[in-house]
Structure formats: structure tokens, C-alpha cells
Amino acid sequence: MTTSSTLPSTPSQTVGPYLHIGLTWQDGPFVVPEGTPSSVWLRGRVLDGAGEPITDALVETWQCDEHGRFAHPEDPRSAEIDSGFRGFGRSDTRSGEYGILTVVPGRVPDRTGVPQAPHVDVSVFARGMLHRVVTRVYFADRPEANAADPVLSTVPRDRRQTLLARPSADGYTFDVHVQGEYETVFFDV
């Protein structure tokens, strides 16, 4: 390998209050196309330290498909993915909650080959947040996979429930508590 000096990263800044003009997409919520048979809505609020819903946040999600394949060239199976599966979702919270139409992802291994439970990576941006926060959604109705998940097992037991999406009428509910008694577990990635 050639030696190279490293460049320092550009610092993060807040999306500010007017993020919607730049970052809202009409098709943002659709990780899978509307009408996909096994699709579910993942919905929730983003709450501040006073328990008030943050209505100028942006929630972004990233995940594999139901068979554990990512729509990305570094996944050797990406070519097998149904066209239309984007893996990425984006929703603002102007209505008081975000909403993402998706499927429950399959299982993928961690770096040591241990299978992870189905999970969705989440970024939250907002006015008043100078950097995104990152968390993961797991699914409360997959207790066996969750019990064996190598990331969840690093989370103190009494905080694991902050990472669980719960079944709802049309899919799952997952609230993000940015601060407060029920503060969501966030990750350095």
C-alpha cells in the first residue's frame, strides 16, 4: 500500500429549521414501492427532553431486504434484489410523526460472522442538533433473534426496550426520545 496523509473530515452542522425545502422527497418514505405485499409502515415521533414532539426533524433509514441483501455494490448479492427495493427511507416529522413504508429486513452477519437480528439503521437530524444521532430499530416480535443479537447484547438490559419497534395497526411504532427519562440508546458508528 502507498502511504498517504489523511485528510480531516468536514465538520457537521445542523439542518436548521428550513430543511424541508432541501431534503423532503415525495417518494422519500418508500423503502419499498407502495403495494409491496409484505410491506409495513414504520411510524413514530421524535421527542425532545421535555417530551414534546419535534416537528422539524428528519428521519432517515437504511436496511437490507427480506433476504438480507443490500442495494449497494459492496453486497455481492445486490444484483439479485428486486428492482424497486431502495433500502433507504426518508421522512420529515411535520405531521408530528415520521412514516416509512418498508419490509422487516432479513438477518445479516456482523464482522465475525455472528448473525444479527433484523434491524434498521436510523439517522435523526433536526434544528437544534448539530450532528445527526444514530440508532437502530429492532423488532419486538422477534425475541429469539433479538436475544442472540451481538449489538443488543452490549446494551444495558434496562435500556434495550428503547430500541424495539412494537407492532401497530399498520406495521410498527418506534418513537425516538432524543433526551429524557426514556432516552433512546444512540450509537457512535
Partner: protein, 245 residues
């Protein structure tokens, strides 16, 4: 090698940014951070395939005029025409090609076309303040726009945001995702801006574009250069990260 082994072994993780790179989420000078920063320490998330992959966006998402914010309406917007260009690189200086760059900004008077922006400065019927483009194979991007104005906000008495353009970058992985703001050289409003100053001092200059005489066009537009650096990868012991075939 099985597909699982390949997925486990391929693709090294991205290096963490050292302390002093990004602003702390708890930055009391920027009052809105008070109830919007986590109090507990984040846990470490080892980078699995979920984190070293990320959305591949752009094809079909970019309209013909999306990188020229001065031609999106029948008339020309009012203000100083500028070209903002640069490269998106990773921490090893490698280009980040074919990657979506989104921008949004205020008009020349400092007003956003957003229903929550109601300060008494006129909207410009010929300016939306929204652009997007893809980096080319060398990681280059370019926008033509007008220089945004400063605008007041309520953080403290007589608070004004220095002129800035909001930038959103995806890079090639979930790990590289970045939203930032680009500023202009020698802005007299820097000193009183808690958002700019939330960034550790040594890193602030990385948010400031460079006036670029070479890209300034005679009788047309001023040029500004703004390179953006996303996290680089850990060294890999074997050369297997050539996926561009």
C-alpha cells in the same frame, strides 16, 4: 469462500473522526440544543455490512436544471451570481464519485422559500434555493446559484446567521452520511454565530469556502471552491476493495 465469509471479510470499516472534528450536540450557545441533545454516552456500533453500505442515489433523481439555481424560473433571480464548486473526497484523498449532493439556501435577501420563514424580507419569485447534483467520476460537483443573504434569528438579541449554503452528502456508506453548511470567506458575522462557533476552533476553517479567481467568470459570476471530506477507511491488509468493474 462462501457469500457469508465474503461479506464478513470484505470491505474494511471507516475510521472514526477524532475528537475536535464535529460540534458537541450539547452546545449551550445555540439554545435549541438544550432539549435536543442526548445526555447519555453513545454506545459503540461495530460496523457490519449495514453500516459500510448505504443508499446509492441519483440516477433518475436529478433534473436537468437542478445544479443551476438561477435558471429554474422564467426570470433570473436577484443577487450576486456565483459558482460553487469543489470535490467530495474521503479521508485518504480519494474521490467520492457518483454521489448525491443536495443543497438548500436563502435568497439574496436572506429569506427561505419555506412557510416557517416569515421575516420581513421579500421572497424572490425566481428563486427556490434548492439544488442537487451527482459528483462526477473525480468526485467533482458544481452549482450555479446566487449568494445567499444573512438572516436574523431568535437565538439571542440581534442574532444573525452568516451567509451559508446547507449541504447534504451521502458518500458511499451509512457511515459517511454528512449534513453541513458552507460559509463564505471573512464573514463579519462569524464571531457572534453560535452555530459556526459550535465547531471546535481548529476545524472551523473547513466550513469556509475559498474565493476562487480561476473559476470567476468575466462579466458573469464569482467563483467559490468548497471541498468536502467524508470519513476514510481503515487500511486493508489485502487489496480487495476494487468494486468498480
Amino acid at each position: 469462500m462462501s457469500a457469508r465469509e465474503q461479506r464478513t471479510r470484505a470491505s474494511p470499516p471507516y475510521r472514526p473522526d477524532p475528537d475536535g472534528t464535529h460540534p458537541p450536540l450539547d452546545s449551550p450557545g445555540y439554545r435549541s440544543t438544550a432539549l435536543r441533545h442526548p445526555v447519555r454516552r453513545p454506545l459503540t456500533l461495530p460496523q457490519s455490512v449495514t453500516e459500510i453500505t448505504g443508499p446509492v442515489l441519483g440516477e433518475g433523481r436529478i433534473g436537468e436544471r437542478d445544479n443551476d439555481l438561477t435558471v429554474q424560473h422564467p426570470g433570473e433571480p436577484i443577487g450576486q451570481r456565483i459558482v460553487v464548486h469543489g470535490r467530495v473526497l474521503d479521508g485518504d484523498g480519494r474521490a467520492v464519485p457518483n454521489s448525491l449532493v443536495e443543497i438548500w439556501q436563502a435568497n439574496a435577501g436572506g429569506r427561505y422559500r419555506h412557510d416557517a420563514d416569515v421575516w420581513p424580507c421579500p421572497l424572490d419569485p425566481n428563486f427556490d434555493g434548492v439544488g442537487r447534483t451527482l459528483t462526477d467520476e473525480h468526485g467533482r460537483y458544481e452549482f450555479t446559484t446566487i449568494k445567499p443573504g444573512a438572516y436574523p434569528w431568535k437565538n439571542h438579541h440581534n442574532a444573525w446567521r452568516p451567509a451559508h449554503i446547507h449541504f447534504s452528502l451521502f458518500g458511499r456508506s451509512f457511515t459517511q452520511r454528512l449534513v453541513t453548511q458552507m460559509y463564505f470567506p471573512d464573514d463579519p458575522l462569524f464571531d457572534q454565530d453560535p452555530i459556526f462557533n459550535s465547531v471546535p476552533e481548529a476545524a472551523r476553517s473547513r466550513l469556509v469556502s475559498r474565493f476562487d479567481m480561476n473559476r470567476t467568470t468575466d462579466h458573469w459570476a464569482l467563483g467559490f471552491e468548497f471541498d468536502i471530506v467524508l470519513r476514510g477507511r481503515e487500511a486493508t491488509p489485502f487489496e480487495d476493495d476494487d468494486h468498480d468493474h
